[in-house]
Symmetry: C2
């Protein structure tokens, strides 16, 4: 295992400590062991709190997206392992700003269980809580079992929508509703070119032959829809877009957000090569890309590969995505002058 670390046991805690040291104006650590990341300053008493949590190893997801117009708090587990109940409960307490809490989490059994239990504890004290579960990975189950699908990079867009809605003083019910609406037409799929290594395991999660890739692999190395020879970037882009469209068709006049995400080792160069073909396909269909995001958003440490997320937008969703957000890992790629 060739990684810059001190020991597998200290990997998560030292990385979180470094993240907070590097961005002292943005983050603080809470929870008994510092495994809750919270906003350094929260002035918006009275707004809906947005809380999340998940395994580590996906930075900037999950904890990196704590910030204004994004998350108020995030509970952090071990690498590829969900957060503890104590930390999730603490994350909810931090996010309790007096107008209820919206939990936005990926569709993983352990995460749902601890968020459910923590929510019950706070609800018993009179705090209103809603939970939105992101299940955007079309490769992980067919449409008839869509509720079992994994949550992948679509979580990032859900954070942005929920955070912007809460920041604009919407109620808990409205914030949850608009986030659910956004996810109804949000789909993702990934392709892995290599594995990654969980520090405590010390060896790659799986092996991919020198010439093999896996379409549809999950961000923890969950099995995909096929394993086979590497194809051209354009062929990969076509297959990924076709699979998303088979599940959630696009038509002329639609507006979409597109998130072209590196799983870790894949450089911007390759994302842009993928995007070039996608943009051409969507333009020929007269689908407008109103919100393109390119880069490292939901990673699997040093895994090589990319994921594609497409979300259909109406005026309300487009406006929430474009609303300002402040966070060390949120880049405004629109760059209006």
């Amino acid at each position: 295992m060739k990684k810059i670390l001190n020991s597998p046991d200290s990997y998560v805690d030292q990385a979180l400590a470094g993240m907070v040291l590097a961005h002292p104006a943005a983050y603080r650590q809470a929870g008994t062991k510092g495994r809750v990341i919270a906003r350094r300053y929260t002035k918006e008493v009275g707004k809906v709190g947005i809380a999340s949590g998940g395994g580590f190893g996906h930075l900037p997801l999950f904890a990196g997206y704590v910030g204004t117009g994004l998350l108020d708090s995030c509970a952090v587990g071990d690498v590829f392992a969900g957060p503890s109940l104590d930390d999730v409960e603490q994350a909810l307490r931090v996010a309790n700003l007096g107008a209820g809490i919206l939990c936005v989490i990926g569709n993983y059994g352990g995460d749902k269980m601890v968020f459910g239990m923590a929510a019950e504890a706070l609800e018993a004290e009179g705090v209103e809580i809603e939970t939105v579960v992101v299940a955007d990975d079309v490769a992980s189950a067919p449409p008839e079992n869509a509720v079992t699908r994994r949550g992948v990079a679509g979580v990032v867009l859900a954070f942005k929508i929920a955070g912007a809605a809460a920041e604009s003083s919407r109620s808990l019910r409205d914030t949850a509703a608009v986030t659910r609406k956004a996810l109804e037409s949000c789909r993702s799929i990934g392709v892995a070119l290599s594995s990654c290594t969980v520090p405590k395991a010390g060896k790659p999660t799986f092996e991919l032959e020198d010439d093999a890739i896996e379409m549809g692999m999950g961000i923890h190395g969950e099995q995909g829809v096929w394993r086979g020879a590497l194809r051209s970037a354009d062929d990969l882009a076509d297959e990924m877009l076709d699979r998303l469209q088979a599940d959630c068709p696009l038509q002329g006049g639609d507006r979409v957000a597109v998130l072209c995400n590196s799983l870790g080792a894949t450089p911007l160069d390759e994302l842009y090569i993928l995007y070039r073909h996608l943009a051409g396909r969507l333009a020929s269909m007269e689908v407008e890309i109103a919100f393109p995001l390119m880069g490292h958003y939901a990673t699997s440490m040093e895994m090589a590969g990319a994921s594609l997320t497409v979300m259909k937008l109406d005026d309300e969703l487009a406006s929430l995505l474009q609303a300002p957000a402040r966070c060390p890992h949120w880049k405004d790629l629109q760059c209006p002058e």
Copy 2:
């Protein structure tokens, strides 16, 4: 070679096309073959133009940093190969906004030659041009040969200083002078954990044994100062900081910018683990980190490893680094609320 591409020959051009398609409000392509990236909108007629250029494969460096408060134009070569004279001349013409042009480039022979020739052509037409050459890599030559050192991630900080100075209406002479001042106390060093593969070569630039790393390797795989077994993150951080300090000592009361940069495959997790120890060392020396940057700034495609850049700051330099910039790849990590 396992990369998302269509062909090695189209790698650079398709990636640049995708970059411009993804950020249409920020970039446009110029030059006979689209190998010049320019700002989509430039309203600041009368300001000093900031131009750069270099090989491809380092995104966001070089061309990604075209934007307000950064570069006005950038000429792009092939992977790890400098831009053509024609494109550099075109980049200078684009950056000519009526108040002279500052070229900020890395210390590579080919780049210096074509920028020198292009500058002569424009100077013959009466355009004032200054050139600042970045040579921040302490591993590439001893102090007595510092003028031969390679330019690495310090180039990013030089772009930011020069761009902010130009944006604040300084003269060409002042913009060049403050950029040179910044570079006087800017030093970098990198450590590589793996090679990368130039698409047209089709195989890794070099081989590193499974347990070996190379301290001081250049961003194109140039030989470093030692090759040996992987060490702990804290030991790597100590050695990197010690080598920078041996060249440009820090003392209590100093303020610095710190850029902890992934060479590609190395995830944020590992950068934060490195940074945690660096921040502790600097705090114990009573050196203030006034400007921390963490992430992918100057990469070598999918190379694993990291570089550390430290720049001493005075009030003027701190203010120029903190000035707003708008570019798809510039993140404001300060996040004041």
